[in-house]
């Protein structure tokens, strides 16, 4: 069997039903076998989007999404996609063609050292030099990508290795001696965590992306309800806890909810589950840990103590750790009531900001747009975002009710991620509506995926919060650079309704809140992709705002 054929067999054995990609000289043997296999190919118009689609597929299905690219420029085009997946711990397998092994190192046509280029941004990379290695490499790649803290794995296969024939053996199991993704959480540490939570006066739960990755929604909710502890999340953890729950305060951080930041600052003990304490979430590291006892749960031991000094550390899968905690609480019959000064304060603060936080007065203010969207979009729908103001408005004003339905490029902040990721999400879960909350600057970067959405029958909805500018950059120039505006004006070009129509999708311009509601309802019934172009006010800022390098307590509120 040829190397390329064994690749397809190995992928099928891993349950792969579709791949996203674009062919070229160095992966033609792979494509020829793809032609003969049962795996569905989704042809992209730019490899970056193939990687983002695989990423979106992976986050939603919690199995690695697969993308293909050729050598050289094909491979370098997926670099942003790999880095995005790595920054957000998303499972993904990227398979690149490489020049023939004898040509490696000779600066051959379309040769690039993709292993070297991606080294700091992959979880692992393989370059099989013998066709017979391929089955085991694929098995290992899926094992590494999907276990422990998930991440992207690259397989770079020289063309001759794809073509060579070999005796193939497909292992059912692999062991890697330097890789131990399963760590059993230490029971005593969990006991200590419970004691600390019970003995603290102002406890809070900080739920991070790890809760979503491990699907620990029920466990998290049980703990919060048994101990009556309010829940804040990181931005990546948004929607790990229903945002309409009485104990929910929403995301903390640079553009966190005012009540979440305020209560985070006043807490004396935090149970951080699956969070890496990114600078965007905590503001300044020193200030954050000053008054706080930190219980840190994470699957990655290297996260413990990286950004914050912790009092109690529980290393292990978040779902497993939280489940043990729930069990202990139930066994010990620990259940706390809601009659305490801390919860009273939390509720008062929440109420205060919900009533008094000034919202942008424009008729298409972000809060109005996104609250309307929430009203009309079914709760089980999957929502992705692009990167910029619209993303932070989504964090502030779009409540995630069903846990695990909200995804964004939170770590790398990749403009252009949301739309292809939405297509990948739709491929993973065709039964639910998928919507990308987009800025036009970001959408412009990968909008050619409209072709994929239309031709491959993966209809998604794009809600374009069109401020005719790179709004987030504009906000920083208004705030920190004395209104010297440069490089932000997109001048209402192109016309996104026409762009949508040019690809055979549906374009709707919605110029009032009412029209937005109707447009979303039309889109939900449509079997092609729909772009809803909403002209918003270019002057609206995202507020509250914690300036970079400042502590959460110095949050700037709308005046």
């Amino acid at each position: 069997m040829s190397g390329a054929r064994s690749l397809m067999v190995a992928l099928e054995k891993e349950g792969v039903e579709l791949v996203f990609g674009l062919p070229g000289g160095a992966n033609l043997p792979i494509y020829d076998e793809l032609y003969k296999s049962n795996i569905r190919h989704i042809l992209v118009r730019h490899e970056q989007s193939a990687a983002h689609m695989a990423d979106g597929f992976g986050r939603v299905s919690r199995r690695p999404g697969v993308c293909f690219a050729t050598s050289g420029p094909g491979a370098t085009n997926i670099v942003t996609g790999i880095a995005t997946a790595q920054a957000d711990s998303a499972p993904m397998i990227a398979i690149t063609g490489q020049v023939p092994s004898k040509m490696i190192g000779r600066d051959a046509f379309q040769e690039s050292d993709i292993i070297g280029i991606t080294n700091p941004i992959v979880k692992y990379a393989f370059q099989p030099m013998d066709a017979a290695e391929i089955p085991e490499v694929v098995k290992k790649a899926f094992y590494i990508s999907s276990t422990g803290r998930p991440g992207p794995v690259l397989i770079d296969i020289p063309k001759d290795v794809q073509q060579n024939e070999a005796e193939m053996q497909f292992p059912n199991e692999v062991k890697i001696r330097g890789y131990h993704p399963w760590v059993d959480p230490d029971i005593r540490e969990i006991e200590r965590a419970i004691e600390m939570l019970l003995s603290s006066e102002r406890p809070i739960i900080l739920a991070g992306g790890g809760v979503i990755i491990s699907g620990a929604f029920a466990e998290l909710q049980s703990i919060a309800e048994l101990l009556m502890i309010p829940v804040v999340t990181t931005f990546k953890g948004k929607g790990s806890f229903p945002e309409n729950h009485p104990l929910s305060l929403g995301p903390i951080g640079m553009h966190g909810h005012a009540e979440a930041n305020k209560m985070m600052v006043e807490a004396d003990c935090v149970l951080a589950a699956g969070s890496r304490f990114s600078d965007r979430s905590v503001g300044t590291f020193e200030e954050f840990e000053k008054r706080l006892k930190i219980i840190h749960m994470d699957v990655d031991p290297a996260e413990i103590g990286k950004n914050q000094t912790t009092t109690v550390a529980v290393v292990g899968d978040i779902k497993a750790s939280l489940r043990i905690m729930v069990k202990m609480l139930v066994q010990k019959a620990i259940k706390r009531g809601d009659n305490n000064p801390w919860l009273k304060k939390v509720n008062e603060t929440k109420e205060y900001f919900r009533e008094n936080l000034k919202l942008h007065p424009h008729p298409l203010g972000a809060a109005k747009v996104l609250r309307k969207l929430r009203e009309v979009l079914p709760h089980q729908s999957i929502v992705t975002t692009e990167v910029g103001q619209h993303q932070m408005w989504a964090s502030l004003f779009f409540d995630v009710i069903q846990p695990g339905t909200f995804f964004s490029s939170t770590g790398l902040g990749t403009m252009g991620w949301g739309f292809p990721a939405a297509i990948g999400a739709k491929a993973a879960k065709p039964s639910v509506p998928v919507l990308d909350i987009a800025g036009e600057g970001s959408f412009n970067m990968t909008e050619n995926s409209l072709a994929v959405s239309v031709l491959d029958n993966l209809p998604v909805i794009v809600l374009l919060m069109n401020n005719f500018s790179l709004g987030m950059v504009a906000q920083w120039q208004r705030t920190f650079y004395d209104k010297r505006m440069i490089g932000i004006d997109l001048k209402n070009c192109p016309d996104y309704v026409k762009i949508a129509e040019a690809y055979g999708a549906q374009g709707i311009r919605a110029e009032s809140i009412d029209e937005i509601g109707k447009a979303v309802q039309t889109a939900l019934k449509s079997d092609v992709a729909t772009v809803i172009d909403v002209p918003i006010d270019p002057q609206e800022d995202v507020l509250p705002f914690v300036a970079p390098g400042t502590p959460l307590k110095d949050m700037i509120l709308p005046s």
């Binding site: 292993i115 080294n119 700091p120 330097g178 290297a302 103590g305």
Partner: protein
């Protein structure tokens, strides 16, 4: 503070690159490094001296441990005075 870290790694191409790249991308400094194959040809041993504070050192060790190609990471010794230019005398160069 000098620290000596010993890392047992898979003996295959690219592993030294990964280790040094780990130091570079996380902004740690390597003061000296030596690599040699061990008695078991499947493994190489890297001996790295680095001047890092305790918190950094802790991270370096954890990040090295996390590397899939590392099999064992040991913190051998600390030397507290600077200027002692012989941080490496406490181990023998593995023969290759």
């Amino acid at each position: 503070m000098w620290s000596i870290i010993s890392v047992l790694v898979e003996n295959k191409p690219g592993v030294l690159f990964k280790v040094t790249n780990l130091f570079r991308s996380r902004n740690y400094n390597i003061d000296s490094i030596s690599v040699g194959i061990t008695e078991n040809p499947e493994f190489s041993r890297m001996t790295i001296t680095t001047s890092a504070d305790e918190k950094q050192l802790n991270q370096i060790i954890k990040q090295l441990d996390k590397m899939i190609d590392s099999v064992e990471v040991k913190h051998l010794e600390e030397k507290r005075q600077h200027g002692n230019n012989e941080p490496c005398q406490c181990f023998q160069m593995p023969s290759s």
